[in-house]
Amino acid sequence: MSDASEKRPYVLKILGTWSAFLIVAVLLSLRLGSVPPLGHFLSPHTGYLQNSISVSQKKNPEQMTVQGLKGTVTVRTDVRGVPHVTAENDDDLAFGQGYATARDRLWQMELQTAATAGRVSEILGERALQFDVMQRRMGFLAAAQKELEFIKTSDPDQYQVLESYSAGVNAFINSLSPRSMPVEYKLLGAEPELWTPLKCALFHKQMAWTLTGNLNDFKMSNALQKFSPEDVESLFPDFYSKGLPILEPAVAQVTAGQDTLIEPQSSLFRMNGVLRHIDGKPKSEQTQKKPASNGSNNWVVDGVHMKHGYPVLANDPHLDLKLPSIWYEIQLTSPSVNVYGVSLPGLPHVIIGFNESVSWGITNAGTDVLDWYAMKFDKTKPAPQYFHGQQWKPSTIRKEIIQIKGQPAQTIDVIETHLGPVAKEMTLEQKSGGEAAVLFAMKWTGHEPSNEFRVFHNLNRAHSVLELKNALQNYKVPGQNFVLADKTGSIGYVQAGLFPARSSGFGRYLLDGTNPDHDWRGYIRFNQLPQSWSPERGFLASANQQPTRDPHYGYASGDWGFTSYLRGSRINHQLSELTGGQQTTVQALMGLQNDVVDLRAKLIIPLFIRWTAPRLKNPQDQKILDKLAGWNFELQPDSQEAAVWSKWWDNVYDSIWEKAFPKPDFLKPSEDRTTELLLSENSGDWPAVLSVPKKDEIPALVAAGFEKALHTLRAFAKRNELGSELPAWSRLRGTRIPHLANLGGFGIEALPTGGSDLTVNATTDHHGPSWRMVVTWVDAQPKAWGIYPGGQSGQVGSPHYSNMIKKWLKGELDELHFVRQGNLNSQLTLSQTILESKK
């Protein structure tokens, strides 16, 4: 007995210590939900501390021997973190680009293509399954495979470039160890997958969807259920009376041929019942969300109107702002090319940029290239048949296998029709009785095989505007407004892309999939696209507005992919002022990128004040109206007037339309149309439709909107202890740049920005100028400036992760180090990597 009591304390201690040790060790080894194995992650040897990237200057070049090279590739990284890749041939150049891009952006490349392919479940498990199913039904993976086959057979040289790019990415992947893996892989417990040309094609499809995909046809069809076609046409017009298109009639030089346009008997196809987006669950938007205000600015001024005698081209594409940034700066040099600009991580070549002779910039065309068709299906047969042209036609079934982390794979069936895939399990609220079911197929130019890689290959190597134009003849998706310049002084504009030829308004609503008259019948030919070459006025500009007012361009209407015309109007007005009867400077054109004048405020505020002043309940609010009356309409970060105006407009706009066009099943009439209606002197113009306030109720509604705005803003200022009655614009709105996978701490919050999607500096809460570039020539040598809100490195532990944001915020640009023959000044060189072929 005494022996046992003596033993107990130390036996308990042994057991206690061992158990505690085992429990702690096991807990540190396991992944617990979204928490990574902490032992590995916290370890100074293998964990996050190893993801600190040094940017100190290195004297000696790093040498690597890799497989897949024909010669030697040199990657010199400058002090801004930009790689200057020099190779002896184009295939090796693509290899070097792949290697340099992966070194900085591997995780981003992998995540973006996994999302497009519908393979996120492989990384995140079942929670991403619904998303993957939608992506597969949209047919991105199938379209990318088709595109790759097309390139392989029609352009073997470009296919080889994709192979070389992939080999470069893989050379970097193969050099990684568990320690040097990007931190996101460590967090997810994942490993990088080898890159393939298919992933390049997938990323191209991703960009096409980001810039052209939408579900507006459903919302517009809902409007057609509720209102008369005349009311819908009136509330959603194709053209605005004061809207300035990209090409004024005097500038447009080519007219679209009417022979190619479709004139369907009627495109006002009515469905019975109100449509819901997805599976009757309108709030669960399961596809990738597309920001409403994707847009961009570009303009080019010819040499005659510039003081230094050379053309100037400026471009700032507005996209969702993320870290790492969507763009990656790079210079590519080989015997056939010397080009600088921004690339998209995952694609070879420079997308927006310049070389020694030419420069080009892009904005999204916004033209409707996606139509949804209501298809009548007989699902009683094993292979579902659909009714088209008075007969039942067989569909094809594509099996898609979705791998899921930690679970068995799932197989889904995707139905294909002659139009495209049945992309969504959308249903009508009212059951379509009987055995026939209505499913929705999508016809999208993004499903067509194309070879934009060749187009950008040729753009990178062009010597004149004419060569740029020739390169663009084969450009298909996503449709873009290209502005072009060369050092001889020529400038140009063309809306390049694959656009279905059709009459005005066709494709605005759901189309009838049973009616062959609703099928697309061809595309607009390149020489019929809106274009202009060295016009007399000396400049060309685009800002996602309609390309032309010419009614023959029927395709240039449709889905309201076009953004407000006011941003374009402001740019055109400022360019006319700067170049009218005088010459302008590069600095003035740089300054235009930072313009924050809100033209809608300028048009509407006097009217709103007139309506509100006599109705004020609180006389103290008059001083705020007085401040607005004296405001310069600039949405500066410190402007309180901007905050009041923004809230006021939102309140008025919502209270006019929210009852008649409730979210998420309807589109509201555009803000431009609302402005037109409010400003109209003719009370007969005001829509007499159900649930929309009458014209004589509007002044009171505007006054109420003002009071509500002040109440909201005062509460905001009080809640946030701002020490002022009203918040400044940047405090109210501000801008956040989240991490691509929304990892807290990896993004940037609350940047004090000005502007809005309506101003030239089109910054919004998480969206805005994703790359600002200005290019010209001095003494026949290119000179360029640029900046983007991010940094070259995608590694959060690098000082180059977000280092450009400060300058971007101030509206400043960095001078870009364009070097000849890859000879980067040693003072500008941060590091150098020499890739040599493994013998």
Partner: protein, 125 residues
């Protein structure tokens, strides 16, 4: 004095291995060297744990301060207000694990010795 020096040396060895090799190998190394360098009764687990936490903290604070970008990002991810707290978290985690590994090894040695003593006593009877 000799015991004290050995205690310090063992902790420094643990820090060094944690920096140079994967964490589980470092812990294994600490467990294997503990019976050679430490004594079960002199310091005691709690005091060793505190000392180890302090030394680990100093090293990890220096490492985090030298790598502010990644340290700040991960602190933000884990919603930790400052990256020095992240260093303390890492230090605490590995100090606890390593001290437990050493203590476990010492208790193993103690058990063997006691078993051997019991066996000898029984044999002599």
């Amino acid at each position: 004095m000799k015991d004290l020096i050995l205690e310090f040396l063992w902790i420094l060895l643990a820090v060094l291995t944690l920096l140079l090799i994967p964490w589980w190998q470092a812990v294994l190394c600490a467990a294997m060297t503990a019976p050679l360098m430490l004594r079960l009764t002199v310091w005691g687990f709690k005091r060793r744990l505190v000392l180890m936490f302090l030394i680990f903290s100093i090293f990890l604070l220096i490492l985090h301060a030298a790598r502010p970008e990644i340290a700040k990002a991960v602190s933000g991810l884990l919603k930790i207000p400052h990256y020095s707290l992240l260093a303390f978290l890492s230090a605490g985690t590995f100090a606890l694990l390593t001290a437990l590994a050493g203590e476990t090894a010492l208790w193993v040695r103690f058990s063997f010795r006691r078993a051997k003593m019991n066996w000898k006593n029984k044999s002599s009877i």
